[in-house]
């Protein structure tokens, strides 16, 4: 347990140092995201139906905030693995007696924790710019967000696994950005079956809270069951998949992409 904690501290510190040291990159990325949002906002103002403009804007805020979160959690682990495989440090990570998957889970937790602050900031700036103040019901949002994050970690593990065994994974990661966008933007009412994808249900519930003002007591056990099921299912599947990929990489000598 102490070793776990030390592992988490080390990775949290590393992620934080690198983010801080490369602040211009971080800022540029956040600004890019914000510009995408402004573009969407302007689009709604120009061509949208004036009657539903407010609600549309609120949708866009929640969706793009979650898109950013999904990107940070899932896509960045893919990039990180690819970079480390190319630079050679992945092999050193594989040699820790704690196991690579533990390092990876602390990385996932660390990036999420660090980006959480940026995301909250981005949320408030977006609300201020558009003048659309959403219902930030922390007590209702938090449990849903936690369960959603667990399923995102599971999906993150799958992406990490793919990144280990495929050499040319960059193209895949680029496409993945849009898949993630699609999943956060699609409303569940259009395709109810999507509720069983890693984080769609969670985003949907948070939308209900933040836009329609739904409270925690109004969320059904059924909803929580789906969230909980997704969290366990994707995490277990994701981790299993990752371990299989690690094994394949060891058999074929793929831990160093050079």
């Amino acid at each position: 347990m102490v070793r776990w904690l030390n592992l988490l501290k080390a990775n949290l510190r590393k992620e934080y140092i690198e983010l801080k040291r490369y602040m211009p990159n971080t800022i540029a990325m956040v600004i890019t995201f914000f510009c995408i949002f402004l573009g969407m906002f302007a689009g709604i103002q120009l061509v949208g139906d004036p009657g539903s403009q407010d609600v549309n804007t609120q949708y866009v805020i929640v969706n793009y905030i979650f898109w950013f979160l999904a990107m940070m959690v899932m896509n960045s682990i893919g990039w990180e693995i690819t970079n480390e495989a190319m630079r050679g440090t992945l092999e050193q990570l594989c040699m820790t007696p704690m196991g690579l998957w533990k390092v990876m889970i602390t990385r996932l937790i660390s990036t999420t924790a660090i980006y959480f602050f940026i995301i909250v900031g981005l949320l408030y700036v977006s609300m201020a710019v558009t003048g659309q103040w959403l219902n930030i019901d922390v007590i209702a949002i938090l449990p849903i967000l936690l369960l959603t994050l667990i399923s995102m970690f599971g999906a993150g593990f799958m992406i990490a696994g793919i990144s280990i065994i495929l050499k040319q994974v960059q193209a895949f990661l680029q496409i993945l950005q849009f898949i993630l966008a699609g999943l956060t933007f699609v409303p569940l009412t259009v395709a109810p079956a999507l509720a069983f994808l890693p984080f769609v249900k969670g985003v949907d519930l948070v939308r209900n809270i933040m836009i329609q003002g739904v409270t925690l007591s109004e969320i059904t056990m059924g909803d929580f069951f789906i969230l909980g099921f997704n969290a366990v299912f994707y995490f277990v599947i994701g981790l299993g998949f990752f371990l299989v990929c690690e094994r394949i990489a060891m058999r074929k000598g793929l831990l160093a992409h050079y």
């Binding site: 592992l7 630079r87 092999e91 820790t96 007696p97 704690m98 000598g253 050079y258």
Partner: protein, 327 residues
Amino acid sequence: MEAIVEVRNIKKTYKKRKSKTYVQAVNDVSFTVNRGEILGLLGPNGAGKTTTIKMICGLLEQDSGTITINGVNNREKRLDALNNISAVLEGNRNLYWRLTVRENLEYFAGNRGRSRKEVAGRIEELLEQFHLKSKENELVNRLSRGMQQKLAIAVAMLADSEVILLDEPTLGIDVETGYEVRELLRDIVKNDQRTIIISSHDMDVIQDLCERTVIISDGKIITDDRIENLMRLFEVRSYLIRLEGSLSEKQQQLLKQKFPHHQYTEDLAQATLDVDLAKSEEIYELFDILKMEETPVDSIDRKTVNFEQIFMKIVKEAKNGALAQSS
């Protein structure tokens, strides 16, 4: 002495991505390393050294055969085995270039479950020992290749594992730092009681640091012996003979048959004959040839050979042997 690393009959075949052909990189390699020993893994480029090292580190799964570290099978209990292993792999790919010297040390210790506080004292010691104290807050990408290599070895030392593997530790670094690295490694062996496996294609490094060497070529072990034994063996077998006058056609013919690899040179005053004997008894056959024409012998010297020549000879003989067997 007690064996800490045992490698038994390991084999590894790679599949080439593009051509779909197979490369047998390691072919039935077995050796053991004793506790506190420093072993050299010597072989030309492409011999299979890196592949062997990666299998010992558990980074690559062997097709067959077993490797145990301190009695722990490194496939069945991979993570347990890793407790006793740290490694500096080939090239400059063992560190985070965007972190400082100290941050790298702390990060890798953290990845083995240790806190910064726990390792603080040890880090100070290592920074001193490796002459990196003045660079502790420097980003790794600003360091010279040699300093990066020193840091990578320090990181491996910090793991406090019993076995340290170093793949081509002096390759690509400047001569001066190369000597410093050797000096550090000698210190470690003397004072830290670690078991070290060093791979290199540079015999000079191996001769300098190791007591024993496993020579590997084309994925096979061709010899496994103490370096001083190899030196003695070949010293006895290499002769330089100075003759007064020259050898006749017939003598030269016979020499070619008996000792195909000899070298014979003659000038006005004298001739010299340079021969390696496969067995020391062969010296009598050589004398028989000289006696035929009563060629006067001026001097017979055992040639002083360096380890590099020995290495070349061993590899060449192994290749010839393999050819002879296959034909």
